[in-house]
């Protein structure tokens, strides 16, 4: 397990485009933006549809499952919040149930609950919601939830 993240050292400032998204995490929902006109889904929650330019939007609650598309192993902390967390892995996850305008799967990032030794491109993951110490903010993280036959790991 990676070390603890000290979320008290980051002040998250929601705005009018994002406040509902942060509200969703408090109910353990990982929301993505969805266009009411064409159905396109995206994240982070930009305020217009990149597929059809509509600004008539709703939220889609993803099942929070996906596959590791890529990752970084952070060994040198920069933010004070992560000094006790290194080394940790940030996963770049392709969600199973959301697609971008060009048809490929929507990607989201987040700190893995797993150690570097366990992480590999191609593994299935699911979202877990982590308390931050501030009841107004719950952070999504990702956890390996199965195996896959075709995986790739950085071994240098």
């Amino acid at each position: 397990m990676p070390g603890e993240i000290d979320y008290s050292k980051i002040n998250i400032i929601p705005d009018q485009d994002t406040a509902e998204w942060w509200e969703g995490t408090k109910r353990h929902k990982f929301l993505v933006r969805q266009c009411k006109q064409c159905g396109h889904k995206w994240f982070p929650p930009f305020p217009a549809c990149a597929k059809c330019t509509s600004m008539d939007l709703t939220w889609y609650e993803t099942a929070g499952k996906g596959v590791i598309h890529s990752y970084v192993v952070v060994t040198q902390p920069i933010l004070a919040a992560f000094v006790t967390a290194v080394p940790y892995v940030v996963g770049l996850i392709e969600l199973d149930d959301c697609h971008e305008a060009d048809g490929r799967l929507t990607r989201v990032a987040g700190v893995m609950k797993d150690d570097e030794a366990e992480v590999a491109i191609g593994l299935p993951v699911e979202v877990v919601f982590e308390p931050t110490g501030d009841p107004n903010f719950i952070m999504p993280r990702w956890k390996i939830c199965g195996t896959a036959s075709n995986t790739w790991k950085f071994t240098e």
């Binding site: 993240i5 979320y7 008290s8 050292k9 980051i10 002040n11 998250i12 400032i13 929601p14 705005d15 994002t18 942060w22 995206w42 994240f43 982070p44 930009f46 990149a50 598309h69 890529s70 990752y71 970084v72 192993v73 952070v74 060994t75 040198q76 902390p77 920069i78 933010l79 004070a80 919040a81 992560f82 000094v83 967390a85 940790y88 940030v90 770049l92 971008e100 305008a101 060009d102 929507t106 990607r107 989201v108 990032a109 987040g110 700190v111 570097e116 491109i121 931050t132 903010f137 952070m139 790739w152 950085f154 240098e156």
Partner: protein, 409 residues
């Protein structure tokens, strides 16, 4: 060919020393860089009438620089943006002069990039104090990635996966540029670097090691753009602007989460326009600068602008191909990785010096264009320098470039 190809020139270049701790204000450094570029061109304060700059961290305003140097400007502005803005401001300058808004534009970037506000926002000496995650940062700071190294690493990791490459290709880039820095008296890091030195350096954000990262630097650098008619009267051989691109974006530029495939970055979208406007091809380039925030950003741009095919750059850079006296001499100053990080301006300055045949190396006659080509004796000038390019990177999603030719080409 572009409508304005060959009508505008870079006529002066200058910079402060590349420093780890300047103990100076960005204003003082900016004044020195602009003054040196003016002196280099043989321009007086009355003959420069526009100043532009850009910033995303430490900086100074153009109005202060103009006032300090006694330049009365007809145009001045500071763009809020980072890497790849250098080449874009050159395009702005051409448009402004062509439109009659001003005659001669000084472009600078000044920053205490190491002892002032550092990229990623950290204070001098270490980690970021409690930080505000607002705007974009809501969706990266608490998610575990903040600095450029952390942002670009997943793209690099996927590249290694997709193309079966290893980080030895990154080492080839770092070691070639370090060799050039050894020929550049201005460079911060001049000691030779082997492939093994790179591979032994400590991890920062896998797959990046310390020697994949550019040098946080205190420096100001500047160059001056004017019309061909004015350029002929000045001190240096003019370097002509053939074309370029100015902050071209990839589609879907949501770079924090929904990142692009590494081989669909901004340069891929600019390539056809750039070479069409310039009237030359990648194979015509004799001296190249590539925005080397990281070794990996060089790999991506070689592919994006057509110097090799997508997925081939890791192989392309092997065997010293980017070294002086080899096929594609690149970052002859040492670049951001070894000369020092100047946010792209110094990369343009090096191409200009090479195309003038006046690389400021250890040759006694460099200022008059007399070079020995003896690398052991510290000569950095390429023998044949007709066409050059500077490729600017501002994340995978945005980029600029500048295609130049020497007065004798």
């Amino acid at each position: 060919m572009g409508a304005l190809t060959d009508k505008y020139c870079i006529v002066g270049v200058g910079e402060t020393r590349f420093m780890k701790a300047s103990n100076r204000t960005p204003l003082s450094m900016a004044c020195e860089a602009v003054k040196k570029a003016m002196d280099d061109a043989g321009l007086t304060a009355r003959e420069v009438d526009a100043i532009t700059s850009f910033q995303i961290a430490d900086s100074t305003d153009v109005a202060n620089v103009a006032q300090a140097l006694g330049i009365r400007i007809n145009y001045g502005s500071v763009a809020y943006s980072g890497g790849s803005t250098t080449e874009a401001l050159t395009a702005h300058a051409i448009g402004l002069i062509e439109g009659g808004y001003c005659n001669t534009v000084a472009i600078f970037r000044s920053m205490n990039g190491r002892t002032g506000r550092r990229m990623g926002g950290q204070a001098p000496g270490g980690v970021v104090p409690p930080s505000r995650a607002e705007g974009d940062a809501q969706f990266y700071m608490p998610w575990g990635f903040t600095t450029p190294a952390q942002h670009f690493a997943p793209s690099a990791m996927r590249y290694l996966h997709d193309f079966g490459a290893s980080t030895k290709s990154f080492a080839e880039v770092a070691s070639a540029f370090r060799y050039h820095a050894g020929l550049n008296p201005k460079a911060l890091m001049r000691a030779p670097m082997t492939i093994e030195d790179h591979q032994r350096s400590r991890w920062v954000a896998k797959p990046f090691r310390l020697l994949d990262c550019c040098l946080e630097t205190d420096v100001a650098s500047a160059f001056i753009v004017t019309s061909r008619e004015r350029a002929y009267d000045l001190r240096q051989p003019p370097v002509f602007i053939l074309g370029g691109s100015a902050r071209t974006y990839a589609d879907n530029p949501a770079w924090n989460h929904s990142r692009l495939r590494p081989y669909l970055q901004a340069g891929n979208f600019a390539r056809q326009r750039v070479w069409g406007m310039s009237g030359i091809r990648p194979e015509d380039i004799d001296v190249l600068s590539i925005y080397d925030a990281f070794t990996y950003t060089v790999i991506l741009q070689l592919e994006a602008y057509g110097f090799c095919a997508i997925g081939e750059a890791a192989e392309f850079v092997k065997g010293g191909r980017l070294r002086i006296d080899h096929e594609l001499p690149t970052n002859l100053s040492g670049g951001h990785l070894s000369e020092g990080y100047a946010h792209g301006v110094a990369l343009v300055n090096e191409v200009v010096r090479q195309l003038r045949h006046r690389a400021d190396d250890s040759c006694p006659g460099w200022a008059e264009g007399r070079h020995t080509y003896d690398r052991q004796a510290g000569c950095r000038q390429v023998r044949r320098a007709r066409f050059g390019a500077s490729l600017g990177w501002g994340t995978e999603t945005r980029g600029s470039c500048l295609i130049l030719r020497s007065a004798s080409a």
